[in-house]
Assembly symmetry: C5
């Protein structure tokens, strides 16, 4: 999963069937520097995240493994709102 910050909302009235009622948020990943992966992307939110929240996001088809209903065509899902992160600095530099 990637860690990022919710920075916006996006709306689309005309959509694929099966996506009606889902909330779409714009997420900016917390990557170092300006890597390609630092590009913002759109994720579905079902847990009440909002702008400014730090979130964990599952990307790829696993994001469509919802606990109920059929698989839907989405490729990013906010799976958690982060309370805290504890990283070993020595480890990060080793």
């Amino acid at each position: 999963m990637v860690v990022g910050e919710v920075i916006g909302n996006i709306w689309a009235t005309r959509k694929e069937d099966g996506l009606v009622g889902l909330k779409f948020l714009v997420v900016k990943p917390d990557h170092q520097a300006s890597t390609p992966e630092a590009s913002t992307f759109v994720a579905v939110d079902r847990i009440g995240a909002g702008v400014g929240d730090k979130v964990m996001v599952t990307r790829g088809s696993a994001s469509s493994h919802l606990q109920e209903g059929p698989a839907i065509p989405i490729d990013a899902l906010i799976i958690g709102i982060i309370d805290s992160v504890e990283v070993e600095r020595g480890g990060a530099n080793g």
Copy 2:
């Protein structure tokens, strides 16, 4: 999902079974700068998108999770035509 603009059409008469009748569009992602991910790609459209539309696109195998019929071998699906995007500038720079 990535946000992009539809910039063209592509036609292929000889195709894999199961793909007959699908519309294929060329999409240019809205990424900053010239990252690898800024390369154009081809996506299936089933919601009536056309050249010039801003769209949300699901990439990877989740794009084949259509609501009816068997899974098909496609890796990009236009899932929404975007009405509006609202991004917090402070958040984007934080």
Copy 3:
């Protein structure tokens, strides 16, 4: 899907079960410049593509969604031989 050109053939006698009889082709994606994604890769062909053909290729696990039989361990499938592409230049630069 990515657009590319078939540039060669590859043979492997010793293979995973379930892949016997498949044709493997070397594909060079049509990406701009020398991005990482411009690297050549190997794709399965079941529609009669050959060296010099412009093709559409599905990458990732969706490429194993064949219309018959069980899923097989392949991650790239040629899904169409391209007849024509029509891209709006204004759109591409916008």
Copy 4:
């Protein structure tokens, strides 16, 4: 699979259903230099890994192929704690 080092922990109280009780760890891949893929990411651990361990991590939707229960929306799973790696130098440079 990628090889990396566990460098931290991450907590999220508010989560998608189906993820309660899972342990999330921060992993730094062992890639050469500062490639995009060298960015840290979050992986689920079910085998008792901890900070400082060298681990093998499966990324993408295959990480949700757990041996019991339904598929869950995660995209990285620690699948092994590495005992040793033996690499041919000649091979690596050839």
Copy 5:
């Protein structure tokens, strides 16, 4: 699929259930130059590949589509030991 060379072995005693008995090899992709994708990775081998062999590798969740048993959490599988590759030079430069 990517083409690469087997350059080593990796061992992990403590692993996810379902992976016991699998052989894990270190593979170096044959990409041009030092692209991110040229990083080595770990793949499962079930066809008897060894150090020095040129192999085709399926990456992503399709690699877990084995012909028997349940899906397992792996993201790279050696699917063939390469006998020969024939690439059109003109095509590669065109």
